[in-house]
Symmetry: C2
Subunit: 138 residues, 2 copies
Amino acid sequence: MIILSCDHAGFDYKNKIKNYLIKLNYEVSDMGPTKYESDDDYPDFVHPACKKMSDKDIGIFVCGSGIGANVVANRYHHIRAVNAVNTEMARLARKDEDANVLCLGARLISYQCALSIIKTFLKSRFEGGRHVRRINKI
Amino acid sequence: MIILSCDHAGFDYKNKIKNYLIKLNYEVSDMGPTKYESDDDYPDFVHPACKKMSDKDIGIFVCGSGIGANVVANRYHHIRAVNAVNTEMARLARKDEDANVLCLGARLISYQCALSIIKTFLKSRFEGGRHVRRINKI
């Protein structure tokens, strides 16, 4: 399952990403917000999304820069989150850190760029090997 | 004080950043590695650096992508870390999240780009206001 959350700054991207993923037959859980509020706070939506995530889930969280969502997500021991602004970061995060959460900044990257990053994140695979040792030390 | 750490991939940048900061009269603490080992693990150096950080310190951690260091750093409740690949991310992280740790990817950005990001990070200031409310919810 792909778990989505955002704040006001990421609201439009989150809704478009949701429709995009549903069309591709992904099971999606939208942890909100479901209504645009211009002064809402990313932790109010990112925390519930993190708590909902099982080991098999992927999270995609969108705020203005992706930075705040990334800080919140990485507070959780079952989460390894990347704030990716290009596809190479998404690929490396999956390959080396077995990242399960992708944080995106709607004020930093275009929607088309966000889609490319999401595609790369979803298709990239963990390499294992020495990276298992490193993840165990996180 | 500026606290530095890295792994093999960030070793060269970390040493150059250290010399650069010392020339600018910053007080620097180098948490290692002090010797190049081609298969060392970023958590072995990032965890001690995080534990050393007081409220007034800034951390600069360098690994291959900055992603692994960023995950480790954000595990700590006294740290808000950004993995910046451009100056805008560094500026926003300080302004909105009052970030105190900067993670850099030596395989993603040039050394000159890393220096520009560091300069922006060090000179940017927290905006406060609504961002205090959000940080308190992290």
